[in-house]
């Protein structure tokens, strides 16, 4: 929990900034039988990012990286919409889309663990080709579907809550169960922490890596369904564009090292929420588009600086460790004198 302290502080600060600009920011109302408000929006629009980041967390924990999630987002949405537009049931569409996602993820995992290609390149292949595949599915058009059942996934409500949030909770719960209740988490951290030692300890790293990439792709697939269902259409070119970057950022902000090893699911969720809140802040505070990126740079810099213990030492406790040896040296004089 202590590791989450600073990211949470940043999140709180961002929300406060919003409140300063629009006092109604925190208010949540019931409207037409569902919750309505900016905070709900953050969760709702953040849901796909949280999902993708969860999968990414595990991949990064094994010491890998997955650049292809954005493409998988697009493919999954495209396939589902194609199926629905061809009068398949929503269930079939969803199952097919997620099945394909898992397959693509397993392919990534195979390239990484089976053939031994560096993860960034292995997934770059699918990142490039996958976008093409998504556009191939939609024929380069934006494919609009009209299915209330499909709409539920990303834009609907259940028990007053946006369905997407519930979906995130379920996936988060399942991930936490698999990794923390079962031993998957430890084995993943072991493989990411020292691959050779893990091999010598008898861990089947290959299987785990394939599974993790497949899981990341599955998460991306679900996110793809959400994104496309939210706007009732599939956009092969733009859906999930650059989401891999945001996801990696969320993971890193959440305190997981890109070098692999220890990971924190909670941290990732907070990281993703920070990114989404930042986006929403930009809209509601009215940062002009030209300066959006400067604002983002500022926040990201602030987040990473404030999370760094040595920065906090140097800035907040001027007389502390910053001048580390020196005050100690003054003491020394007294001791020896």
């Amino acid at each position: 929990m202590r590791r989450l302290l600073w990211p949470l502080a940043v999140l709180a600060a961002l929300i406060l900034l919003n409140v300063a600009f629009s006092p109604g920011f925190l208010s949540i109302q019931m409207r037409e039988g569902h919750l309505y408000g900016s905070l709900v929006d953050i969760l709702r629009f953040g849901a796909p990012l949280i999902l993708v980041s969860l999968g990414m967390t595990l991949v990064i924990a094994t010491g890998g990286i997955d650049l292809s999630v954005g493409s998988v987002v697009a493919i999954s949405g495209a396939l589902a919409c194609l199926q629905i537009s061809e009068d398949a049931s929503v269930f079939t569409a969803v199952v097919l889309a997620l099945g394909l996602s898992v397959l693509l993820g397993a392919w990534n995992g195979f390239l990484v663990a089976g053939i031994g290609i560096q993860p960034i390149i292995a997934t770059l292949i699918l990142m490039v080709a996958g976008r093409g595949l998504a556009q191939l599915i939609t024929d380069g058009q934006i494919m609009t579907v009209n299915s209330p059942a499909y709409k539920l996934i990303g834009g609907g409500y259940l028990l007053t809550l946006p369905f997407g949030i519930l979906l995130v909770l379920v996936v988060l719960g399942v991930t936490a169960f698999l990794t923390r209740r079962l031993a998957l988490g430890m084995l993943i951290e072991s493989v990411g922490g020292n691959a050779e030692a893990s091999r010598l300890a008898g861990i089947r790293a290959r299987g785990i890596i394939v599974m993790v990439y497949a899981f990341a792709a599955l998460c991306a697939g679900v996110a793809g369904l959400m994104i496309s269902s939210n706007v009732s259409s599939a956009d092969g070119n733009n859906a999930g564009l650059w989401i891999e970057l945001d996801a990696i950022l969320a993971v890193v902000i959440g305190g997981t090292s890109l070098a692999g090893g220890r990971f924190s699911l909670g941290g990732t969720v907070v990281g993703a929420l920070i990114i989404q809140t930042l986006t929403t802040t930009i809209y509601s505070v009215g940062v002009p588009p030209e300066t959006t990126l400067l604002f983002k740079a500022l926040v990201v810099a602030a987040v990473c600086l404030i999370q760094s213990p040595s920065f906090r030492d140097k800035v907040f406790r001027r007389r502390g460790t910053a001048a580390g040896p020196r005050p100690a040296a003054e003491e020394k004089v007294r001791v020896t004198a």
Partner: protein, 308 residues
């Protein structure tokens, strides 16, 4: 000195009468663009022109590379839709030195040396913005109450975003009652359009008009407006640009109030021009595509014949 490789199946033009055209497309970033590509490809086939097509994935350097490669391949005519206006002089000079005529489509280049290309065929983004603004003036000419406008811009820095913003601004800027209370980029996508609009609705309860730089963002915004319990087209008036099929449908359904057309169907005109240019006939330096605007009634009438 090139062409030394073995006898592959290449379709080099030249003396045999058939024309080879190298066409460098910006990308496939939107449905509009895809329709544009299709139109070019289909009309090339219809006109008997061999088309070398390449997709630059929204990068100018890729387009330059493609054009250079077309010069290398000795095509008969090069056509391309510039990603941006500037920075084409060098490669166009190379084309001129290689005596390959160049046609611009969709968008001009800002070179001082107009001799670098034969003609420019395309729409005028600034004019589109103006058309949108003029409709707004007309719509609100009677009232004096302030009109609160929110704007969904295209991708920051992209040419259509810059020009559509400028044209719109130019027209409504003269009247004090029009106020753009929020303006944000929606990256030309539905998802972003919806997300941004949701935030706008929370931050500004009193939006009268939405101006979206393309239909897709407008369609996303419609969902946001409906989600907030308002009626698109009534509570909030919506103007968009492009007139793709989904947009026209929404217009016909009364959810959008006005669409400025930006036609992607440049193919037939392009092929005509290409033939003339290759034969050495003179062509006008600027060919404007035939574009119109749609109100809700016009949309209902036009919808059945819409191809894209």
């Amino acid at each position: 000195g090139c062409g030394g490789g073995g006898g592959g199946a290449g379709a080099s033009g030249g003396g045999d009468g058939s024309i080879t055209m190298g066409f460098s497309q910006v990308g496939a970033e939107s449905g509009w663009r895809t329709a544009n590509t299709k139109s070019v490809q289909e009309s090339a086939k219809a006109a008997g022109i061999t088309l070398k097509f390449s997709d630059a994935q929204q990068k100018q350097e890729n387009q330059i590379k493609a054009i250079r490669s077309y010069i290398q391949q000795k095509v008969d005519v090069i056509a391309f839709s510039p990603v941006v206006e500037s920075g084409w002089d060098t490669v166009l000079k190379e084309a001129r030195n290689a005596k390959i005529p160049v046609i611009l489509t969709d968008r001009a280049v800002d070179s001082k040396d107009t001799g670098l290309y034969k003609t420019f065929l395309g729409s005028d983004f600034v004019e589109e913005g103006r058309k949108a603004g003029k409709w707004l003036l007309e719509e609100y000419k009677s009232g004096t109450d302030p009109v609160n406008i929110v704007e969904l811009q295209g991708t920051t820095g992209s040419a259509p975003a810059n020009d559509r913003k400028a044209g719109f601004q130019e027209v409504i800027g003269g009247e004090a009652k029009f106020k753009i209370i929020a303006s944000q980029t929606g990256d030309f996508t539905r998802a972003k359009g919806k997300e941004v609009m949701e935030a706008f609705l929370k931050a500004h309860p009193d939006i009268d008009v939405l101006y979206a730089h393309n239909d897709d963002m407008g369609l996303g915004a419609i969902e946001a407006i409906e989600g907030a319990g308002k009626v698109p087209g009534k509570d909030i008036k919506i103007i968009t640009i492009d007139a793709v099929k989904d947009g026209m449908q929404a217009l016909a359904d009364g959810k959008i109030n006005y669409i400025v057309e930006c036609s992607p169907l440049l193919g037939p005109q392009l092929m005509d021009l290409a033939k003339k240019v290759v034969k050495g006939e003179s062509v006008p330096a600027r060919v404007v595509t035939e574009e119109t605007t749609f109100t809700q009634e016009q949309a209902k009438a036009a919808l059945p014949q819409r191809q894209y």
